[in-house]
Amino acid sequence: MTDRRLSVSLRQSGPIPLDVEFACDSGEVLAIFGPSGSGKTTILRTIAGLYRPSHARVRSGSEVWTDTTSGVFTPPYRRAVGLVFQEYALFPHLTATSNVIAALGHQPRTERHSRAQQLLTRVHLSDQVNRRPHELSGGERQRVALARALAREPAVLLLDEPFAAVDRPTRRRMQDEIDDLRRTLDMPLVIVTHDFGDVVRLSSHLLILEKGRTIASGALAELTSRADLSWLREAVGLGSVFDAVVGTTHRSRGLIELRFDGGSLLAADRTLPQGASVRLRVPAREVILATKPPEGLSLHNVLVGTVSAIHTDPAFDHVIVQLSVGRVLLLAEVTRDAVSSLRIESGMRLHALIKSVSIEVLSAHGRDETN
């Protein structure tokens, strides 16, 4: 496997302020998340060579694409970059197939057509291939854009707000498709988004950006289980994200068992098959803490863990308690009053109570989308 690590470091004071540094390895999905106008797209454009900040260093594997210190700049057309534009930017005068062929200039002429068909099949578009962009739906356009980005055999795949132009159901379907696709790709993937659903669904790593500055960055599970990330709490609410596998399914009760590294949870779901891998998000506001095992409750999920961190913020009335359950870190948002009356402190054993309907289950495979 070739080293395809993407490392980026950007700095400039204006016109678009930037101060970021990150790396993304092959097989990782880095989500750059932040409000609009935070400079997310500018970062992608810099990686592609479409924008030149005053101080920048972009490296892909052993190749230096941009280095303002030594004056290195590789023009976009010589960078092995696959970029899916926000509005897709398909060539309006070309059919879907020809749009993909346009990015196959490095292949022998005779093989381009069949290669384009393969790529379009790979993104689940094989019957509309002779249509032009304006005859395609939003989702179909995105598939063409994706096939075109992959056609170049890029060393890095960049997606700029990939679902901004499609409706909700299409968005969910395309998230699943991209998630399937990225498992087969041997390259770093960078997604820019302002929708936290995209982040939770697709990314392995997260970089939070505000006004061109990094608020926090790291592995998704690590960042979402941090008790002290006020920015995230204010923007989307805290909630640990972790992966699990579907165990026993209880169709008649409408419940499924989700096994994770440290225990299992029951969640409300009728569609997921046994063995499916899923991603969970447990909102911190939905977690109740108890010092003793509760009795007589209409509740399925009681996890036992030890307090690993407590975060109090003077500007905020609630307290965030981090509980380690096996290898998973859960967050609970409770009142100051609860913390003092239960005498919660680090290292204490606590019971976490979670309603099965409040667990957000994001499927990876096997979800029947018609339900």
């Binding site: 592609a48 060579g49 060539f91 005068h93």
Partner: protein
């Protein structure tokens, strides 16, 4: 009908286009795509022939063409004859006069190609040349054709500058529009009328074609 004048007008039109089109493509695309210091000055210079009286333009061109100027001397030493009152001089004058008619439609056409489409071409691995040929020109071609037709028609009709720098030399500088004036002076209304009708017809065809093309551009933008 002065067929020699008709042939000369056609030759002048073709020769003008041969120089003007590549020049306008380069200039029009640069003005549409790049932001650089002095861009406004270039745009103003290109538009100058639209507002400048043909006699003023002709006067300055004659100054440049004269054997006392560097341009005139270089040309004379290369070709053996003066630039003023020659077909070559006429072509040069015609290119300058037609610059706005060719550059402006081409610039608008390239401006109508969205920036992200151009960037997508680069991200597809296309060199600037390949991007121009396979993406930008196919999207901008109605503007380019409009420019060519406008410039050609305008060359046929140009009178003032042609008379100033070319005079009225049969088969050398006497174009159709000069010939009309020439015939009218000689009270040959019939010949002038036939030639005037020819130019009118050409003008009508020009307008019809350019209108159809500009509608095509608008439709394509949907």
């Amino acid at each position: 009908m002065d067929w020699a004048a008709f042939a000369l007008s056609m030759q002048l039109g073709v020769a003008t286009l041969a120089i003007l089109l590549p020049l306008s493509l380069a200039l029009g695309r640069t003005l549409a795509v790049h932001r650089f210091a002095g861009r406004g000055v270039v745009e103003a210079l290109v538009a100058l022939p639209l507002v400048l009286p043909p006699t003023v333009l002709g006067f300055y061109l004659l100054q440049v063409f004269s054997s006392r100027s560097v341009v005139g001397q270089v040309f004379a030493s290369l070709s053996g004859h003066a630039l003023a009152f020659s077909f070559e001089g006429l072509v040069l004058a015609s290119v300058l006069v037609n610059l706005p008619f060719a550059v402006q439609p081409i610039q608008r056409a390239f401006e109508s190609v969205p920036a992200d489409i151009r960037e997508a071409a680069a991200c597809c691995g296309m060199s600037p040349w390949r991007s121009l040929l396979t993406v930008e020109l196919p999207l901008a071609w109605p503007g380019v054709v409009t420019a060519a037709i406008l410039a050609f028609a305008h060359t046929l009709g140009e009178f003032g500058v042609v008379l100033m720098v070319g005079g009225n030399i049969p088969a050398e500088t006497r174009t159709l529009s000069i010939a009309i004036y020439d015939r009218l002076q000689a009270f040959d209304d019939r010949a002038a009328g036939v030639m005037a009708a020819t130019l009118l017809l050409l003008a009508l065809i020009t307008l019809a074609v350019t209108n159809a093309l500009s509608r095509r551009v608008i439709l394509r933008r949907d």
